[in-house]
């Protein structure tokens, strides 16, 4: 077999699990125990009737490592489905961030202007602060945060990625 690729890529993986105690610890323990990266991890119940939660994991690795990660996830007993959205075709990925910017005068005006071009909403304001809500790809949020840095950025809360495939096929 030819040398496997050593190129490290970012993958977004969707995992459907039984919503039972310990399942998140199992997934996180798998990543820490085997030395895999977690860039972000998002989890919430998505099907109450069936008792299913969906975990979205953004990770990085060589193709062999990514294959291992999926195989290791797949063999956990409470895991029903593992999908590599990055490999399986086009998908939508969104993250939400709340960004607090403190400042007055020109800086305050400038932050509003930038928020507007990013379609971020001010969900809270005081006479010297805003909390912006921004939704988008991680890279867009990164860019927004960077621009807010000199304008009085004081605090950020991010959700991590939620992702779903495009088109009519379900997981």
């Amino acid at each position: 077999m030819s040398e496997p690729s050593k190129e490290v890529n970012r993958h977004t993986i969707a995992v459907l699990v039984d919503n039972e105690p310990g399942v998140l610890a199992r997934v996180i323990g798998l990543f820490s125990g085997r030395g895999y990266n977690i860039e972000s991890l998002t989890v919430a119940e998505t099907d109450h009737a069936a008792g299913l939660s969906r975990i979205t994991i953004v990770t990085t690795g060589t193709p062999m490592i990514i294959e291992q990660i999926k195989a290791q996830l797949g063999r956990l007993v409470p895991v029903h489905k593992v999908r590599d959205l990055t490999l399986d075709g086009p998908y939508v990925e969104r993250e939400l961030a709340l960004v607090k910017v403190v400042g007055k005068g020109e800086k305050r005006v400038e932050s509003l202007r930038i928020a507007d071009t990013f379609r971020a909403r001010a969900v809270d304001s005081s006479n010297n602060s805003f909390v912006f809500e921004i939704v988008g790809a991680a890279s867009k949020i990164d860019a927004f945060i960077e621009l807010m840095q000199p304008l009085g950025l004081t605090e950020v809360s991010r959700t991590g990625a939620a992702a779903i495939s495009r088109g009519n096929k379900a997981i």
Binding site: M1, P21, A71, R75, V77
Partner: protein, 586 residues
């Protein structure tokens, strides 16, 4: 409908019975007393009282590996559960089906640092295949049924069920085993047919094939061994086995080229290195097998049959992955081979065997027993020869003696060889032998041991006495942690730091104090008599065999080296220095 409610503890025992359990290995304590009450009140399940919970898990492992059944363990909360952790990890690494019931403090006290509380599911999460904390008495039966299903299905492994005391004391409903567990967890059994066809094509065209089989064949059951045998015969290929696979193919057959890997034979390792088509059957390309990865069998097409997708492409990228059960996939391969009747290149195969015979001619396992100092290889060889004709099960501890047992005791049948391969747990062999003997009361069970390992679970001699188990502990006593000493000699400039044991016990007296017979051989001329006497005694024996203290295990592929850089004997080491990358490996 309205069935009589049962107590949780009775539900557990009832579910064990329904799962066909007849023996459990355990040790009581406060949190599991209701379960001990339920055990007291019935006769279908025999409880074997060990002397330390670690012993219970290894005993259950020996029981499971020698029968193909699930081994069952019962321990109390806190220290009972933590003592079981080594055994659980051992079972996970070696794919042994175990169900371990642990007591837990009552649910309302969980999280309060209550007496003998520990986070058992948290602690055992990474060392079990799956675990459960049962919080409702009405879930108990279903959880037990599911645990057995998970432990034995797919790649087998240990499963823990944590049982809070209030739950096993509450009244609830029993539920018979249904199909729910199988619906929830159903690993793939049947292999992909096009991949199987490709495998047959590759094997049929091979000029230098090899079949490399492992513990997965044993896991799959005796039928899989039979099919492996058929395939080896059909293809005319050489067959090599891992440490965990020994017995899956008869060692006495001429197509068997011996164990492979770090202490495998010259012919097996060179054939792996030079082959053009490799069929890996239920083995996991462990680092003890591959040596330096970039030099592992560089020119071959690789086919890999494994029930666990995570074993495939983990260390070594393969060309034809086949996810499925060894038995099922081998049956398909054999059937397809017979239908396709591939035209093999007989001349090439003949040349290949000619090459293998040249490697064999190096006689890498040759040893010389001269004088009165007992060579360990000779001791194992004589044990093997003198136990022929009896149904014999061998367990081992971990170290040089384990490797010599693998090299010089030949196994022709599966399930007769029990060793700790993946975790390498010293102290495994004695309790494992106990478990094997419980399952096979009339068979001969020998623990091939090192003196250091034996001391790690020596307390189980007391269990052996209580249940009158005629286990034989055959100690190759070199007064050293021999395997450690060997690495220090070869890799650490002969600095024998802490690998010599002073004040070892007198094993003969030790045996006697445990109501067993103690025997000793210090000279080669005494060896046969001691072995014969050991075999003649109808009860437990410790035979202390004083062996050559300086002997090393060869062949050896030093860590970080490639297969064709093998050390064949003590004179080989000087011209092959060990790399720095190799030094950091274990």
């Amino acid at each position: 409908m309205a069935k009589k409610k049962m107590q949780g503890a009775e539900i557990v025992i009832e579910a064990l019975k329904e799962q066909g359990v007849t023996e459990i290995f355990g040790y009581p304590g406060g949190a599991v007393l209701p379960l001990y009450d339920a055990i007291f009140n019935q006769n279908a399940i025999r409880h074997i009282l060990v002397r330390q919970e670690g012993g219970a898990v290894h005993a259950a492992e020996g029981y499971a590996r020698s029968t193909g059944k699930v081994g069952v363990v019962l321990v109390t909360s806190g220290p009972g559960a933590t003592n079981a952790v080594t055994g659980l990890t051992d079972a996970l690494m070696d794919s042994i089906p175990i169900v371990c019931l642990t007591g837990q403090v009552p649910t309302h006290l969980i999280g309060n640092d209550a007496f003998q509380e520990c986070d058992t599911t948290g602690i055992t999460r990474p060392c079990t295949k799956h675990n459960y904390l049962v919080k409702d008495v009405n879930d108990l039966a279903a959880v037990v049924h599911e645990a057995f299903h998970v432990a034995r299905s797919g790649r087998p492994g240990p499963v823990v069920i944590d049982l809070p005391k209030d739950v096993v004391m509450a009244l609830g409903n029993y539920q018979e085993a249904g199909t729910a567990a199988a619906e929830k967890y159903s690993p793939r059994i049947k292999g992909d047919q096009s991949a199987i066809a490709e495998a047959v094509r590759l094997l049929g065209q091979a000029k230098k094939p090899i079949i490399y089989a492992g513990g997965g064949v044993i896991n799959s059951g005796p039928k899989a061994s039979k099919l492996l045998n058929d395939l080896v015969k059909l293809t005319g290929a050489p067959c090599t086995l891992t440490l965990m696979g020994l017995g899956a193919y008869p060692a006495s057959d001429k197509q068997f080229v011996g164990m492979l890997g770090m202490h495998g034979t010259y012919e097996a390792n060179l054939a792996m290195h030079d082959c053009d088509v490799m069929l890996c059957v239920g083995a996991r390309f462990d680092d003890r097998i591959t040596g330096r990865l970039d030099a592992f069998s560089p020119g071959s097409k690789k086919i890999h049959i494994d029930i666990d997708p995570s074993s495939i492409n983990k260390n070594v990228p393969v060309d034809v992955p086949i996810v499925g059960d060894v038995g099922s996939v081998l049956a398909d391969i054999v059937r397809k081979w017979k239908a396709a009747k591939p035209k093999q290149d007989k001349a090439a195969l003949k040349k290949w065997w000619g090459q293998i015979d040249q490697w064999r001619a190096r006689k890498c396992l040759a040893f010389e027993q001269k004088g009165e100092i007992i060579k360990p290889q000779h001791a194992i060889r004589r044990l093997f020869e003198l136990t022929q004709g009896r149904e014999t099960f061998i367990t081992t501890e971990v170290g040089q003696h384990q490797m010599w047992a693998a090299q010089y005791y030949n196994f022709d049948k599966p399930n007769h060889w029990m060793t700790s391969g993946g975790l390498g747990t010293m102290g495994y062999g004695l309790p494992a032998a106990m478990g094997v003997q419980i399952a096979h009361p009339d068979a001969l069970v020998v623990d091939i041991a090192g003196e250091a390992s034996t001391l790690m679970n020596i307390q189980e001699m007391s269990t052996i006495a209580q249940y009158r188990l005629p286990v034989k502990v055959f100690i190759l006593n070199n007064e050293y942690m021999g395997m450690v000493r060997q690495w220090q000699e070869l890799l650490h400039g002969g600095r024998y730091s802490e690998s010599y044991m002073e004040s070892l016990p007198d094993f003969v007296k030790l045996a006697e104090s445990f109501h067993a017979a103690g025997l000793r051989a210090t000279k080669a001329s005494e060896l046969d008599d001691v072995i014969k006497e050991m075999l003649a005694i109808d009860g437990p024996v410790i035979a202390d065999i004083a062996i050559d203290k300086a002997e090393n295990c060869f062949p050896m592929i030093p860590s970080g080296a490639a297969h064709n850089e093998m050390l064949l004997g003590p004179n080989d080491k000087a011209d092959k220095p060990i790399s720095e990358e190799g030094m950091v490996l274990v």
